[in-house]
Amino acid sequence: MQIYLPIAELPVNIFFILAIGLAVGFISGMFGVGGGFLTTPLLIFIGIPPAVAAATVTCHIAGTTFSAAFAYWRRRALDPALAALLICGGLIGAACGVLMFNRLRAIGQLDIAIATSYVILLSVVGTLMIVESTRAINRARSGRPTELRRPGSHAWFHGLPLKFRFKHSKIYGSVIPVLVIGFVVEFVSTFIGIGGGFLVVPALIYIMRAPTSVVIGTSLILTLVTMAVAIVLHAATNHQVDAVLALILIIGGVLGAQFGARTGQRTRGEHLRLLLGLLVVAVGIRFAFNLFLEPDDLYAVRALDTR
């Protein structure tokens, strides 16, 4: 069944979009990430203009994250203070990300910028995740206890001023790296149309040394709030948010997330991280192919806004 998307100005198969929403929702529920890094490329691949895809995916991420965030909130499996600080940095980052998005779109380099960012970001983060989780799996196999947080293994940025005690996470450190993490992650995410969950989670674990139990809930809240704001920012400045496309994606996403969450709970943490790492790298490689292989057509035409 074809449905015409009013903003993207093209017809799409409603079940196909629903399937994308379902599949990505399943993955996001399973790994506790927004899944934007999959949805944006998939939408671009089926012919949705990159600008519309990146702007609309913010809705999909906000929608699928909501139910998960709600569940974590009820279980109090998050650190409110940490989340609040991340959101502060994140909102500024999101605003700058939208500005950058509009600027690059105006000079016609948005697509390349998005593709390049994907390759760099996904391959680096994915490789790190694979390396880390393989080590964790090996450690578990050889029977050695999992690495405990070593007190005193503080990096220089933990000693910055404005120290704060994050009671829930049982960490004591400067608020500056938290703000910076929030800013950088959301700047990148809003700009390239991802949720940023897969960036916040490792950043909090490895940089802030926050316990895994609060990290996912905290990152979900951050993603939720900044994505909701990003929807409004995108809609108000570049008018590229397609509400119809968003609604179909969310319905699929919310359904998929429920099944994904159940599968995720039955799988071990390091195995999940390895799988997610592989997935992230695979998407990165797919984008790299686009950059490194000679394209079928050296030329590309894009309509510019006349309004």
Binding site: C59, A243, L247, V301
Partner: protein
């Protein structure tokens, strides 16, 4: 007073009629649908152009028809990729200003059989003779027909079905009666489409009939598009609320604890 004006009008008409060539042709053309509605189930449309040649003394050699359909104009950019440090990047681009978003040239036979190269150029007949203004660094000019950016622009738009040149697009059902199919792909822009039907005989244009149709969004699509443009902030808020509400409904429906 009125009778005087009528008299002048009459004499002018008579004068005009006398100065016109002996075998005057009139071209009449009409489109099956003047308003194409884009709704949620829009997957493209097919319009039919009908036309008749009115003449007292039909030519023995027959007539030729060339119909040019021009969609709403827009600016477009054509990028060229090249390898830089192993990566394929957009290294060069040309901006096409005020070019048709849809362009179809339909004729009953090959254009070079209908009119000479000179005439075709003068009348902007056929895709290769339609001006596509390009903005280079400083000047704005129509690019030469063999310009690679222009070629790529035409080729890609033809692949998308937005530009077409069909030399069998016009069919004569009777010596003085013709029809042409105008296929509009799903990706057409909304706006006014100009249809210019031209009648040729012996390599010269002898009559033309302009016509037009409009592609417009209606109902919900229209509402969404307009609102997103005019009330972007509000549109964003509503979308955000809708998004969160869907997420919330999902979490309520699937609640297990």
């Amino acid at each position: 007073m009125r009778s005087k004006a009528a008299l002048i009008l009459l004499s002018v008409t008579v004068l005009c009629a006398q100065s016109a060539p002996a075998a005057a042709q009139r071209l009449i053309a009409s489109i099956s649908n003047h308003r194409v509605m884009v709704t949620s189930s829009f997957t493209g449309a097919d319009l039919v152009l009908f036309g008749a040649i009115e003449t007292n003394t039909p030519r023995r050699g027959g007539y030729d028809i060339v119909a040019t359909i021009t969609g709403p104009r827009q600016n477009a950019i054509t990028f060229r990729k090249d390898r830089r440090l192993g990566i394929w990047l957009n290294v060069d681009s040309r901006e096409f200003e005020n070019v048709p978003s849809y362009l179809a040239v339909l004729a009953n036979r090959e254009l070079d059989e209908i009119a000479s190269a000179d005439t075709r150029r003068r009348l902007q007949l056929g895709l290769e003779n339609i001006p596509l203004t390009q903005r280079a660094a400083v000047t704005i000019a129509d690019a030469a027909a063999d310009d690679p950016f222009r070629q790529a622009f035409l080729r890609i738009n033809m692949q998308r079905g937005l530009y077409r040149e069909a030399m069998n697009g016009v069919t004569f059902m009777a010596p003085l009666l013709f029809r042409a199919d105008i296929p509009l792909p799903a990706g057409v822009s909304v706006g006014n489409y100009e249809v210019d039907v031209r009648l040729f005989a012996d390599g010269a244009m002898i009559a033309r009939a302009p016509s037009a149709f409009e592609v417009y969004k209606a109902g919900f699509e229209q509402f969404v598009t307009t609102t997103s443009r005019t009330h972007g902030f509000l549109f964003g808020l509503v979308t955000a609320v809708m998004t969160l509400a869907t997420g919330w409904i999902g979490s309520v429906v699937f609640r297990r604890d």
